[in-house]
Symmetry: C2
Subunit: 199 residues, 2 copies
C-alpha cells in the first residue's frame, strides 16, 4: 500500500497508526497541501477533493478520506467492534471528529504551527469550538478507558492525532485528566513516545 500525504498531518497519521497496529506495510509518498502538491492534475486524479491522505491499495485503486481509509483497513480486525451497535457508535465518533473536532482543534493548531499566528490572536469562536470538542471528549472518557467498548478502536485512532497535538494550538489539557489518561493509554497501545507540545 502507498500512502500519499505527510505525517505532519493528523489525518495522515491516523492511517499510519492503523497500518502499524495491524502490521500492514506501506510506502509513504510525500505530498503536502501547503506547497500546492494536492492541486496538481495527477493528484486530483487520485482524489478530486485535493486532500491528503489518499492510499493506493495493492490492486492500484485509490481511496481517500482518512476515516473511510480507517474503516476499510480495520475491517475484520479488533479495531472495529463485532457488535453492530458498538460499530455504529464508532462511526458516530468518526463523523463527529470530522465535523466537530478537526475543523476547530486541528485548524487552531495549523494557524499557530504553520501560519505562525499567536495563540492570543486566534479567532475566539475557533477556540471556543475547540474547547467544546475537547470538553465533550473529557466527559465521554471520565468513566471509561476507550471511546467505545472495552478496547481501542478506530474511533480512538481517529481522535488521537489532533487531540494529542491540541496543546500546540493553545488548548490546555491539564484540566482534563480523563483526556490525558486516554492519550497515554493510546500511546501505550500504539507504542508511541509520550507527546510533548514542544515536539
Amino acid at each position: 500500500m502507498q500512502i500519499y500525504g505527510n505525517f505532519g498531518s493528523g489525518n495522515c497519521l491516523k492511517v499510519k497508526y492503523i497500518a502499524d497496529a495491524i502490521g500492514l506495510p506501506f510506502e509513504l509518498r510525500e505530498v503536502r497541501s501547503r506547497s500546492g502538491e494536492t492541486g496538481t492534475p495527477e493528484f486530483l486524479k487520485l482524489n478530486p477533493a485535493g486532500q491528503v491522505p489518499v492510499v493506493i491499495l495493492d490492486d492500484g485503486r485509490p481511496l481517500a478520506q482518512s476515516n473511510a481509509i480507517l474503516r476499510y483497513l480495520a475491517q475484520d480486525t479488533r479495531f472495529i467492534p463485532a457488535d453492530r451497535y458498538e460499530a455504529a457508535k464508532v462511526d458516530e465518533w468518526l463523523f463527529w471528529e470530522q465535523y466537530s473536532h478537526e475543523p476547530s482543534v486541528a485548524v487552531a493548531r495549523a494557524r499557530v504551527v504553520y501560519d505562525k499566528q499567536a495563540v492570543s490572536d486566534l479567532d475566539p469562536n475557533l477556540v471556543m469550538q475547540g474547547n467544546k470538542a475537547l470538553d465533550l471528549m473529557e466527559q465521554a472518557l471520565t468513566d471509561r478507558t476507550w471511546l467505545v467498548g472495552e478496547a481501542m478502536t478506530i474511533a480512538d485512532i481517529a481522535l488521537l492525532p489532533y487531540t494529542r497535538q491540541a496543546p500546540q494550538g493553545g488548548f490546555d489539557l491539564s484540566g482534563r485528566p480523563a483526556l490525558l489518561r486516554w492519550i497515554t493509554a493510546c500511546e501505550n497501545q500504539l507504542g508511541l513516545p509520550a507527546f510533548s507540545a514542544e515536539n
Copy 2:
C-alpha cells in the same frame, strides 16, 4: 424507531429517506436546534454533541450523526454495496459530505432561509466552497448515474437533501446538467416530487 429532529434539516431528511426506502417505520419527535431544544439536559443525554438527528432504536439505545445512522440502518440492504471497495467509496462520499459539502452548501442555505440573509450578502468564501463542492459532484456524475456503482446507495441519499435545496442558498444548478439529472434520478427512486427552490 424514533427520530429526534425535524424534516427542515437535511441531515434529518437523510434518515427519513433511508427509513422510507427500506420500509422501516418510525415516529418523529420534533426537536429544533434553533429554538434551543438540542441544548436541554434531556437531549444532551441522547447526544452530548447537541445535534439532530438522533434515532432511538427499538431496543431503546440512541445513535447520533446522520451518516452513522445511514450506515447502521442500511447494512445488509442494497443501499450499501456488497463489494468492499465500493462500500469504502460510499464511506469516502459520506465523510466528504460532512467535511466539504454540508459546511458550505447547507450553511449558505440556512443563512438565507432561516437567518433571512440576502444571497448577495453571503460570505464569498462560503459561496466559493459551496460551488467547489457542487462542481466536484457535477464532475463525478458526468459519466455515471449514481455516485458509486450501478445503483443508488447511501452516498446518494446523504448528498441529496442539501444538494437539492442548494438553489435556496443561491447556488445555480442550471449549469450543472449531470447534477440535475442525478437529483431527478434520486427523486424517482425515492418517490419524491420534483424539488422547487420556492418550496
